[in-house]
């Protein structure tokens, strides 16, 4: 039964996913097992994205279906992102208010088993540091769309060093104008231009390789 659930999610059949969740519940399947089936689907979707068979629309839609499936179970997203894969502190850095990409990354990370602490937009450097410390986060995601926000990214990386936390966290940067050269230049640990890149980078950070 959970195979049906997984395949329905992978094929973006939203109504079928919800029906399968209800059926699994009625058959006595536990919520953790249902969530595991959904997360297996998310993993498959991520693999298809990496292979070039799926695209951003599938990542977004599957995360939405995942969320609705949790609601069907009477749970919210925190049931799935209880830190099973670790905590990611995420935000758009100071001086930049663009949030579309950051929001998509939050949804997809969450649906892939990460606890996400979303700090919003125009986030000062110290707020990232405080949130990382408060939530014992090992992964930090800095987002921007504007090249003029690069200094704020660099300041945020420096703030972690000043707080003595730099070696405790992996800092990934994301957004339209970023790349790995820039990550090195800013002192970050990696860069991504898609939500799946974030899943992979965060996975490597917390699990030492596998996404």
């Amino acid at each position: 039964m959970t195979d049906t659930l997984t395949s329905a999610l992978v094929e973006m059949r939203e109504d079928d996913v919800l029906v399968a969740v209800r059926a699994a519940q009625a058959a006595g399947t536990s919520s953790p097992d249902i969530i595991a089936a959904l997360q297996a689907g998310m993993k498959d979707i991520g693999d298809k994205y990496e292979a070039g068979d799926y695209f951003l629309s599938e990542l977004i839609m599957s995360a939405e279906i995942f969320k609705r499936a949790l609601e069907e179970l009477g749970l919210d997203r925190s049931a799935a992102d209880t830190g099973t894969r670790g905590t990611v502190v995420l935000g758009t850095v100071h001086t930049d208010i663009h949030d579309i990409g950051k929001n998509i990354v939050a949804s997809v990370l969450s649906a892939n088993g990460f606890k996400v602490v979303d700090l919003g937009v125009d986030v000062p450097a110290q707020k990232f540091v405080d949130a990382a410390r408060d939530n014992n986060a090992r992964v930090i995601g800095l987002s921007c769309l504007l090249t003029t926000a690069f200094p704020a990214m660099q300041e945020t990386v420096a703030a972690f060093a000043a707080a003595g936390l730099r070696d405790n966290v992996t800092i990934m940067i994301g957004g339209g104008p970023v790349n790995s050269d820039l990550a090195r230049q800013l002192g970050a640990d990696g860069a991504g231009t898609s939500a799946q890149d974030a899943v992979i980078l965060a996975g490597k950070a917390v699990e030492g390789g596998a996404s």
Partner: protein, 369 residues
Amino acid sequence: MIAPSDDPRRERLRKAVALETVDKVPVCLEGVAWSARVTGMTLKTFLSDPLLATQANIEAFELVGNADSVNNPTFDVSSLSFLWMTRVKRPGYGGLGDDEPWQVEESGLMTLEDYDAIIEGGWAPFQIAYLNERVAPGKFEDFIKFVQGTGAVVEKANAASMPFLAVGVLTTPFEFLCGGRSFSQFVFDLYRTPDKVEAAMQAMMPGLSDAGLGLSAAVGAPGIWIGGWRSASKMLAQPLWDRFVFPYMKEIIAQTVAAGITPILHLDSDWTRDLPRLLELPAKTCVLSLDSMTDIRKAKEIVGDHMCIMGDVPPALLSSGTPEQVYDYCSKLLTDVGPTGLILQSGCDIPVDAPLANVKAMADAAADA
């Protein structure tokens, strides 16, 4: 279309589009905000009058010295609200400093019910009411006022002998609706209510591009942008792109060519997957403008004998690299993608904080090649 000209810069552009041999790869500056910053004008001032924006473009063009054209001779953020159906924070207002870049506030002002309103009443009445009632009072009139100044802008650019490629932007129904709904919500709509979205798109098409094409023809602009941002291949599953993007883009391009205007396909993000589909467009007529996310060498391989390619010096390189790094990138690009059928340009806009030396390095690379 770009007419034959005694001006060697315009002639280079014409030959690049026609895939003819050029004496030098033409360089185009797409530096709206950058032109303000590099000439010492605040962005608030830049946006206060289309002619001031043109003045900044002219001065920046002269500072670079050996570029062949600018992409657009002026700019106003009201055009972003018009295209993306959303609010845009202006420098000097709403908490932004006078010289901070404008920022798009995508807040999903369009509702699911709006598709019915578009289907029943057509696009233009809906868009006018939407801009004025949901984006900001008078927003549509702001945009019209900007557009009405185009004649004076063109006159000023011509008087300064600054070639330009376009004064207007067209786009597909997808981009208007996606901006209004916000990206994620629009993706949900495409999966959940595809027939309704499609009906709205079809209702939008009649007359959608008439004003932009008419304006371009009236002022003698050689080209017009046809923008693609969120409709990029990387953003969408193949069946969604095939159904909701390309048919409309192809139709708008056909209308543009029929009007005698060069389609400048301003395609941000990654369109690599669907490059072969661009072979369905008229040959030696379009310009494919890439922002560095699409594989430009793959583009050369697939459509290089079919259309001119423009781009794609990465914004991060122009902003944070050295002049030597920019020069090296451009030199390699000129070898790999040029010299025929290439216009060297930044990938999308030159970032506002790009040093002048980096932009000059881009132009110098073409001059030295």
